[in-house]
Symmetry: C2
Amino acid sequence: MVQELIDISISDLMTDVNRVACVDPDNSLEHALLVLVKSGYSAIPVLSRNGMVQGTISKTLILDSILGLERIEFEHLADRKVKDSMNTDVTTIQLGESFVRALELAVNAPFLCVEDDAGRFVGILTRSAMLQRIHRYVKM
Amino acid sequence: MVQELIDISISDLMTDVNRVACVDPDNSLEHALLVLVKSGYSAIPVLSRNGMVQGTISKTLILDSILGLERIEFEHLADRKVKDSMNTDVTTIQLGESFVRALELAVNAPFLCVEDDAGRFVGILTRSAMLQRIHRYVKM
Ligand SMILES: Nc1ncnc2c1ncn2[C@@H]1O[C@@H]2COP(=O)(O)O[C@H]3[C@@H](O)[C@H](n4cnc5c(N)ncnc54)O[C@@H]3COP(=O)(O)O[C@H]2[C@H]1O
Ligand SMILES: Nc1ncnc2c1ncn2[C@@H]1O[C@@H]2COP(=O)(O)O[C@H]3[C@@H](O)[C@H](n4cnc5c(N)ncnc54)O[C@@H]3COP(=O)(O)O[C@H]2[C@H]1O
């Protein structure tokens, strides 16, 4: 029974890199906020030109970085860069790792960045994809 | 084995109402955005004075509602209210329902609003709490 859950491969569940919204470390925070608002996502990966994950950026991090004492100082958005505000402590997992390891990491991360053996970003593994698979297992 | 997962009670896993950040439908969007930025949460419940869930409000909904053609029009935050922008399609679950039902709902909702028999809001059930419990089960 549990073995069925344990044998799930990460590549079966992940969102492929071509369908992941992401930004460049040198983009302005204004550009990143517009990508986040238009996509509707709370947080997205930050990828370097050579396809490696540099960090994640979120609406929370962007708004936090322009939060003044009295108000949110939106005029600073254009002159700040993603690399100055991004979270560099990214939760990553390798393609060959187990579903149980993905589950452990997902307890504290809304999504995991998936990398291949060479450390290149290949997609994300979301909590919704994992929960959908677990629900199917439990319902059987 | 699976029975152990199925028998989990919702009240054991949920975040109690006293620890849930929430706002009032008559608050301004500016106030709601400050609560969201200061708490770090993406979305929080909107509760009426008599303790019933009216909706949820998120950074995405607030920023969406002030997104103009060229830029995000932050000056409108003060004169708009939470009730004008909140999502009223709230994912709720009753205290007595099963963990399997909670799992099914959590596939598409980052958290569930938990209600008692009288329909009063008693707390939220988060994906992280559910994933933590599932991980403990799978690792045994
Ligand atoms: N456009 C949409 N269509 C359908 N459902 C949507 C949606 N946007 C959000 N949701 C739902 O809301 C959850 C939380 O989204 P959030 O943007 O906070 O958090 C998201 C977002 O930060 C990131 N993410 C998901 N898909 C992404 C993508 N294609 N590109 C970049 N980031 C993505 O992963 C987090 C977890 O995603 P997950 O699917 O587990 O969980 C999603 C999903 O269940
Ligand atoms: N201050 C903090 N401390 C530790 N971890 C944190 C954290 N803020 C966020 N996280 C982590 O990030 C996940 C996504 O948070 P988010 O704010 O997008 O999405 C959150 C937020 O919208 C809402 N939420 C969680 N706790 C809340 C609370 N006490 N009051 C109001 N809303 C809450 O439920 C969603 C799902 O929460 P979940 O725990 O599954 O998942 C959380 C948790 O794993």
